[in-house]
Symmetry: C2
């Protein structure tokens, strides 16, 4: 499928009181190049393998393929990944017809909080909560694959 996403910085942690779910995520990359990202993720007690292609010209859509896999297999695959495993907590915040996914990063990316919203078209509008900061959709430094090799603390 093609995924349409916009990404924003987060001004403060007032989003936490509106969160409906909260899950610890660890993820590593078997390939971190933007044209063919291969990600192994452990989210709570589930495993996922995700493959993403390059972004389109606007930077908003990207081919994405994802399969749930047994957590024991995910643990073995994450051991193969490149240096720089990402560790974060994901909060989900429902807002009108949409859901913001807000990631608070730890380790070498601590201090960074990013909100993402998935849209059904590139022109779809959505409500902007007051904790939402500057848009960074087109800035590849905020790709998790990029953060795994160039973490926020080294910018």
């Amino acid at each position: 499928m093609i995924e349409i996403e916009r990404k924003f910085l987060v001004k403060n942690d007032s989003f936490k009181k509106a969160a409906s779910t909260e899950n610890r995520i660890t993820q590593g990359y078997l390939s971190s190049v933007a044209e063919r990202t291969v990600r192994v993720r452990i989210k709570g007690n589930k495993g996922f393998l995700t493959i993403k292609g390059a972004s389109n010209e606007s930077g908003l859509s990207r081919f994405e393929w994802e399969k749930e896999i047994p957590i024991e297999e995910a643990k073995k695959l994450i051991l193969l990944s490149e240096a720089g495993v990402i560790d974060k907590t994901r909060f989900e915040i429902k807002m009108g017809n949409h859901t913001f996914e807000v990631d608070e990063f730890y380790g070498d990316n601590s201090g960074l909080i990013i909100a993402e919203i998935e849209l059904s078209s590139e022109t779809e509008t959505f409500l902007k909560p007051d904790w939402l900061g500057d848009e960074v959709t087109n800035d590849i430094r905020y790709y998790n694959a990029y953060l795994s090799t160039k973490p926020y603390n080294k910018w």
Copy 2:
């Protein structure tokens, strides 16, 4: 799982008359580095995603994870792969308790024929047919991931 395999050159095509199955295979790589190879394969009307780790010291065993995926998904994923899609026919030849998989390559790797046998231990013995040539197990030039970027015709 850990895969134990030995790999040999093939002297002539007399193996073909003993083959029990024959399937065309096309495969591309989302990562072709030996430490974390990610392969998308189309074999006949089936799709597969395979991840391999680095070889152990002897060069005989390697971590391997494989999932069958719908062929339509495999076709989309192969479009994301690095340059150098591999095209070959795989013949299976039963010999005693083992099965040789013999790959005849086309395109930039034409002229190359490689036989592989999977073993249950590094010391297990097996019958050697008269078409079997020199062993190349430890020669990474014969990895398909390597052949995809440095094809046989350019050696």
